[in-house]
């Protein structure tokens, strides 16, 4: 468990020590993934449901893979939520989950707070895989994990997060997690995409991308989406690329070994230049691999104690305490 939590709804709710515990657990699972047979029985006998009310490829695959690597049974549900009203769907879905005896629910939903609704109404553990424009905690965790792997620490790092902060759940989760662990976060993006009183997150708001990149250890570049309904927020992708796009020229202001991140999918040539995306400092594919390990850690910490048989006997909370707060983790060899 993460503390005594049933759910992972956002990084805002987590203590720094809980985040560290997830990262440490993810480290172990990362090693598992490099084995010839990258599978452990930790969640054997448990069933996870992946409910995606909003289109997603990589997050859904990543969760499903994480569940399978932990030997959980998985069921998937994907809808665009078109004909039925969203509320009804969610309510009915919750009832169905209850009836089917599912242990873990991974939910992505277009409404901020939808996972919170499920968490209130279900005994099953709920993992937020992205809710509206609120949080995407496992993405935040995998970004932080990737940074820690690369730079060895989080404390004191200068991290720039660039783009549409207002509509970005990735930004919120990153900001909460990074600031809790002592990083210094600077954000930049169009003023129309800065949420109200954003500085109260404990971040610096730079006037330009150049200013935000100055001396940065890490830059996390958010995907820009200029959809029809947001047409009042910005003019064109061309203008965006010119003012906010990260090019190798701009990147010179950052540390020479700056870690370049992007949650994907990328608009190459818009928010991120081709050579930056594929450059030597880019860890974008590492993020994807780490995502599986981080999600395994979250699933395991939330539900490992519920698992049946051998796995359960090997993962008691008591062992966790013995190891100075290090979560116990003995994947079967």
């Amino acid at each position: 468990m993460i503390g005594t939590r049933k759910d992972l709804l956002g990084l805002e709710d987590l203590e720094a020590s809980e985040i560290v515990s997830i990262l440490d657990t993810a480290r172990t699972f990362r090693e598992v993934l490099d084995r010839p047979i990258p599978k452990v029985p930790s969640l054997r006998g448990l069933t996870a449901a992946n409910l995606f009310f909003e289109a997603s490829t990589r997050t859904r695959l990543s969760f499903e893979l994480a569940e399978k690597r932990l030997s959980a049974d998985t069921v998937n549900f994907q809808t665009s939520g078109s004909s039925v009203s969203k509320g009804e769907t969610l309510k009915d879905t919750a009832r169905n989950i209850e009836a089917m005896g599912i242990h873990l629910v991974v939910i992505r939903h277009q409404a901020s707070g939808a996972p919170h609704y499920l968490a209130r109404n279900l005994d099953a553990g709920v993992i937020n895989a992205g809710d509206g424009t609120h949080e995407h905690p496992t993405q935040g965790l995998l970004d932080i994990f990737t940074i820690r792997e690369r730079r060895g620490k989080i404390q004191g790092l200068k991290v720039a997060i660039l783009g549409d902060i207002m509509h970005s759940r990735v930004a919120r989760s990153n900001i909460w997690g990074l600031t809790k662990l002592g990083a210094s976060v600077t954000i930049a993006g169009p003023p129309t995409m800065m949420p109200f009183e954003v500085e109260r997150f404990g971040v610096k708001v730079a006037k330009s991308v150049d200013e935000a990149l100055e001396g940065a250890d890490v830059v996390n570049i958010l995907r820009i989406q200029l959809e029809r309904q947001r047409s009042t927020l910005y003019s064109t992708l061309r203008e965006y690329a010119r003012v906010y796009g990260v090019t190798s020229e701009r990147l010179k202001r950052a540390k020479p070994d700056v870690t370049v991140m992007h949650p994907g999918p990328m608009n190459r040539g818009v928010e991120i230049a081709q050579d930056v995306a594929d450059g030597k400092n880019s860890v974008i594919l590492e993020q994807v691999t780490n995502g599986v390990a981080v999600r395994m850690a979250v699933l395991y910490l939330l539900a490992g104690h519920k698992a049946a048989g051998e796995a359960a006997s090997e993962t008691p909370a008591t062992e966790t305490k013995k190891a100075h707060g290090e979560p116990s983790l003995h994947p079967r060899r």
């Binding site: 805002e12 969203k86 509320g87 969610l90 901020s112 707070g113 509206g132 609120h134 954003v198």
Partner: protein, 439 residues
């Protein structure tokens, strides 16, 4: 002549006439007969008089709520005129004005007459319908305002939506001016509101919710103040939620512009922080705003910038409200919690005395609509509310008379329990137990 009724031992409050004293209230034939010695001797000496003992209770004119949604016709799954007025009686209200955003909207004479007839059949409250400004509330073509007012409409409003077109608003004000009825504006710029679901502030930033800036309301209030000045018409601003709107209304009044305004109990006690947890029972439009806004509203109620209090009682079904925040409809019920919440928000912290509060829940709202009443003067209909200001009770939505259970105050302990509500001398609500005796 029927037997008179004497309400004894209560503190009589008639703020319009400056009365605040313990005295008998005599009622005869559905009308107020008089207070204490002022009641006719033959009434006071009538041997068959019935006496209701209400020691320690407050006896005041029946409460008035000029902003409720009774949902009938067309949305009877949410509320009916009967259940809505039953809720009114339980909350101490004897008069309500209902908004026209029914299905279909109250935009022609038969529908206005229907509401009046249904209310009379129920006999639980005086119901004054408010007619639509535009046909179907579509914001395009004016309704037959004179015919609607003639049929009994006391105001016009497209509530639920603003009158967006400034020229249409201008013409509506010009046409209503000679009729002496206000145009009640749901002040909101629809573009600024966008698809926002809560107040735009730090809480919406944290929760990742689409925000509605306070300017969405204030921009429209400012526009309407200018149009009221241009036309000499009367704009009444519904459910004011923002400090900036208060500032504009205050200045408009100082300039002699005919602008009145109301706010609702929830804006005086809750802030946007209540939305934490994504509970759809905290979702209404306009949204709960910042503590600064709340404080400005309290001040404006106290200094009279905001003329009256109104609940914006907006019942919805449990199914609709039991969902994620975005999918839930805007609105909460208010009739059965208003008095307790207002006592807590305004009287307990000493922003207002009880008589000052009662004035803003009785005569003041009636005056906004140009209606008489709101006093305990002899000869007027005996619309009376009796409540115990010290009695504590706990809000349990399941016990509401309203079909709507969507209250943010579930489980709150409130002080101030309605004991009895009387409409034209007839009891419409009586709390158990209340001592009634023959003389």
């Amino acid at each position: 002549m029927a037997s008179p009724l004497c309400i004894r031992g209560g503190r009589i409050l008639d703020p319009v006439r400056g009365i605040d004293r313990v005295q008998d209230l005599w009622i005869q034939d559905g009308k107020i007969a008089g207070l204490g010695e002022d009641a006719p001797a033959d009434v006071r000496s009538n041997k068959s008089a019935e006496v209701i003992q209400v020691p320690g209770a407050i006896v005041c004119p029946g409460l008035v709520d000029i902003h409720v949604h009774l949902r009938e016709p067309g949305q009877e799954e949410k509320e009916t005129i009967e259940t809505g007025t039953r809720a009114a009686a339980r909350g101490g209200f004897t008069t309500v004005a209902c908004m026209p955003n029914t299905s279909p909207p109250l935009d022609d004479r038969p529908r206005i007459e229907y509401v009046i007839r249904r209310a009379e059949e129920s006999g639980l409250a005086r119901v004054h319908p408010i007619a639509a400004v535009t046909v179907g509330q579509m914001g395009e073509r004016l309704t037959e305002i004179e015919d609607l007012v003639d049929a009994g409409a006391v105001a016009i409003s497209d509530d639920g939506k603003p009158v967006r077109n400034a020229e249409l608003m201008r013409r509506a004000l010009e046409l209503t001016r000679r009729l002496g009825v206000p145009v009640i504006q749901h002040a909101e710029d629809p573009d600024l509101k966008g698809d926002g679901v809560m107040h735009e502030g730090w809480t919406s930033t944290r929760l990742g919710m689409k925000g509605i800036p306070d300017a969405a309301e204030s921009v429209m209030v400012a526009r309407d103040a200018l149009l009221a000045e241009l036309t000499g018409g009367h704009v009444h601003v519904a459910h004011v939620s923002a400090a900036r709107s208060v500032e504009i209304i205050r200045r408009a009044k100082a300039r002699g512009i005919k602008m009145t305004a109301e706010t609702a109990p929830h804006y005086l006690i809750l802030t946007d922080e209540a939305v934490e947890g994504y509970d759809p029972r905290t979702k209404m439009n306009p949204p709960l705003r910042s503590a600064k806004d709340r404080d400005a509203l309290i001040e404006a109620v106290a200094d009279g910038t905001l003329d009256c209090l109104a609940t914006d009682h907006a019942p919805h079904t449990e199914i609709e409200k039991d969902s994620d925040f975005d999918a839930a409809p805007f609105g909460i019920v208010g009739l059965e919690t208003a008095l307790g919440v207002l006592l807590k928000a305004l009287v307990e912290p000493k922003h207002l005395s009880i008589p000052e509060l009662i004035l803003r829940m009785t005569a003041n709202p009636l005056r906004v609509l140009g209606l008489p009443g709101g006093t305990l003067e002899a000869g007027t209909p005996a619309d009376v509310t009796i409540f115990d200001p010290a009695r504590r009770w706990t809000v349990r939505a399941a016990e509401f008379a309203s079909m709507g259970r969507n209250t943010p105050f579930e489980g709150w302990e409130l002080k101030g329990l309605v004991l009895l509500t009387m409409l034209g001398g007839k009891v419409t609500y009586r709390a158990q137990p209340l001592e009634v005796s023959a003389r």
